[in-house]
Symmetry: C2
Subunit: 498 residues, 2 copies
């Protein structure tokens, strides 16, 4: 191994100690830390994140990476390390272009804006949030100008969350989707509304936790490389492929959501547990593309988890653990978990209308950054689009523009990656069925592990070393298209008893 590469590895080793404890502090703060533990945790987190950031952008590292990028050194690296060096070089250069005082002001405004959003949401008053949203729009635009001078800011934002993606590429795919989706949703909704109260009878949290573990094991989560926790909102967090954690949020009167959160976060976690070990602790390990990541959580949650046959091997366990489900047939359960309805809150939406919630946000972001629509006009625009896409009107901003926190910390461009994940899933499903045969049949046979193994082999092991475009090319051998997702929705919603 070259001396330079060795030096880089030992630098990363040291740097990773800081990010490791940063991750652990974050984990603990979200899952366990008692209320009054906050200030001390926060101090340590600030100290160690600052040190990690300093090390990530330090001259010493920059010189090392530039040296490894020089032809003679670069040529001697294997392809993974070539990726790592190139990606680090780009990241460092982007980071170093951000003026320190601007970065500091940005971070300060971020936390003020997050707080204002929370206050506005609780008070159901957009005016509290408006001036902060205005600032975050300007700051984020400015940030994009620093990291990627000369490029369109919104393209930069989108590309931050989904490498290589831009408005032009998304527009054509999303337009296709919208065209097919709006009539499909209209047709499904015309079948009439219903509600089945049996699913809201109380189920003990203890039983729900047992079911969570059964589901995680069933889909392939490895408990030697992971564990579970509880938090306000479910999330997945990884230290390395050897330690990946998922959380859940339980509620006695809704046992369905935690099962699907477990399958969803389990999908994220299975991805991280199966990135090849040699990439651990580098920019190649762990997947940093939100769309690709989301495709895996949604593949497990929706494509597999809402399939009737997914439940054949485990529904008996549900009935054993949840006494109130003892007399609910598998068919009724499957009907409930595939229930499509027009609703206001994105995070509570079914998989079909969910896409419309994202299209709405994408439209909004384009209006903000491309057409410079003013902040004052945004709530009304939100409501108008909700009517257009879902046929319902939010009664207030809490049910409308104030529902998501993403914009409060400047995560513009993040929303579309959720939808890209679903679109990828449609394509992955068709590619998988070409390789493995009909997924319904595989699930009915109880062979879900061959599906997980296929995803491990074709997607997970590469971590970040394949960009989203390369993943699609290598797995699907076709250009990106929303058609497979639409075909999947039609197939799923055509099940006779629905």
């Amino acid at each position: 191994m070259s001396e330079k590469l060795e030096a880089l590895k030992s630098y990363l080793e040291k740097m990773n100690n800081y990010s490791h404890v940063g991750t652990l502090l974050y984990w603990d703060m979200r899952t366990l830390m008692p209320e009054e533990g906050f200030p001390r945790h926060q101090k340590a987190l600030t100290a160690f994140s600052t040190e990690a950031f300093r090390m990530e952008t330090a001259d010493e590292l920059y010189e090392l990476v530039k040296a490894l990028n020089a032809p003679e050194e670069f040529g001697a690296l294997d392809s993974d390390w070539q990726f790592i060096v190139r990606r680090m070089l780009r990241n460092i250069e982007e980071q170093r272009r951000i003026p320190a005082d601007f970065y500091e002001a940005f971070v300060t405004e971020q936390s003020e804006s997050e707080r204002a959003w929370e206050e506005a949401k609780n008070a159901n008053d957009f005016r509290i949030f408006a001036p902060h949203l205005e600032k975050m729009i300007r700051y984020t635009e400015k940030m994009a100008g620093y990291t990627n001078p000369g490029k369109d800011p919104y393209d930069v934002m989108v590309g931050t969350y989904e490498e290589g993606m831009d408005v032009a590429s998304m527009d054509s795919v999303f337009e296709d989707l919208k065209e097919g989706l709006i009539p499909l949703v209209r047709e499904i909704l015309s079948r009439g509304e219903w509600e089945d109260g049996r699913f809201y009878e109380p189920v003990s949290v203890d039983a729900q936790k047992k079911m969570q573990d059964i589901l995680l094991r069933y889909i392939g989560f490895d408990f030697k490389r992971g564990c579970t926790g509880e938090s306000e909102h479910p999330f997945t967090l990884n230290f390395s492929c050897h330690d990946v954690r998922v959380t859940n949020h339980f509620n006695e009167t809704n046992a369905i959501d935690p099962m699907f959160s477990a399958i969803h976060e389990g999908g994220h976690a299975i991805f991280e547990q199966n990135v090849k070990e040699s990439l651990d602790g580098t920019v190649g390990g762990s997947c940093s593309y939100m769309g690709v990541h989301e495709s895996q959580s949604r593949f497990f949650e929706n494509i597999l988890g809402r399939n009737r046959n997914f439940w054949i091997p485990v529904y008996g366990e549900v009935q054993k653990l949840f006494p109130t489900y003892a007399n609910i047939s598998l068919d009724d359960f499957v009907k409930e978990i595939n229930h499509v309805r027009a609703s206001f809150i994105r995070t509570e939406a079914d998989e079909v209308t969910y896409c419309l919630h994202i299209l709405l946000r994408y439209e909004m972001e384009k209006k903000i950054f491309r057409e410079h629509v003013s902040v004052e006009e945004l709530p009304a625009l939100w409501n108008r689009l909700t009517e257009e896409y879902l046929g319902i009107t939010p009664k207030d901003d809490a049910e409308g523009i104030l529902q998501d926190m993403h914009w409060s910390d400047g995560s513009f461009g993040y929303f579309p990656s959720y939808l890209l994940g679903s679109i990828y899933d449609g394509m992955f499903l068709e590619a998988m069925e070409e390789d493995l045969g009909n997924v319904d049949e595989i699930l009915a046979r109880g062979d879900i592990k061959i599906i997980t193994a296929w995803l491990n082999e074709h997607i997970h092991r590469y971590g970040s070393t394949r960009t989203p475009k390369e993943v699609i090319e290598n797995v699907c051998h076709k250009p990106l298209s929303a058609k497979p997702l639409l075909r999947y929705f039609e197939r799923r919603q055509a099940i006779p008893h629905l």
Copy 2:
């Protein structure tokens, strides 16, 4: 505030970030971390403990503390900071007298010895552990020679765990105890042996966890300043008075031990939660005297927790949560939790015979360090003393000398502090009753909070700033004596139905 003091405070602030994440890594490793997460956690722990140790003994800190110890600076400090400066100075000087290469060899041998002990215990073969025990004896003796040159090594070891304590002081107290205890135990055991299988019917872990939380709240554990976890062996860990955590270990077929572990660890935790805030992050905050600390866990576990009246306000909850207890009367429950029997394993012993287990270990340690008895002779000596004190003979070394891990990492001198804790408790009980009146009556009234408040006020708030001797003087106004503990045992065991 003096410039020097300000400099010390900001140094401690930085240093505490390292110990903070060290504590968190330890917590996570013992409670949650998945198996394969170990190497990465271990690396970070090593890096940050090394850095914390470096900072604790650095020249910069040493100079600062020496400057604050000079008359003009020292005189301007309040009494807490005077304690902190003096104690830090002593600690730093002790630490700095340890040669770096010796320290490294000690730490290495420590972990090898711990491993050998585990292997020996599993194989039930003392010979595997013997050479390591031999080394740990020599190393620990040598360590004492470095930190406290010219003092008797075993006195140094004892003083490490219980400040100001030495063999001479303990001998007189322990001799009194032994004299009263051996006939008392003989008398109790002569009442005849019995067993009540109803207590070993399965109880769900979920119900046990609920009962744990009820008990913790009942004795005064503050969930805004603490939380719970699960681990192989129960322990308490504190970041500061604002974040103190207890663990438990559950077992479906034994619901009693986890309740008493909760009360025991809860006692440790209530101590730490109530150290005055201004001492946080200094050597004065958190109690570093094992005997005093143990006195608090045992006060809650034994003096209060084995009192019939402690259970009056909460036994109904036990019966509600543990269906198998529905028909067990409070009197039968109290009989079970006060059951005295001769047994081999210290950690499973009742509160009365527990003292004999410690006296045995104390005798052994004196033989090792004062009479230089050889390692080969120890197992037989252990068995002979077990016969003498408890009237039973271990069938093998797993049941005898191999049962505890303390000696494997060189924690000689630690055992006596457990017994000191109980002896202090006898004295605290009498002092408390002089102040507050009969404890039985207070508990019967459901007024346990005034007992907790009394302990907070007289003991907990001072953290480490009062040495064990000062605690006894200030709380009891009497010299240390085992008589009150004996009186307590007689009172407890004289309850008619036992």
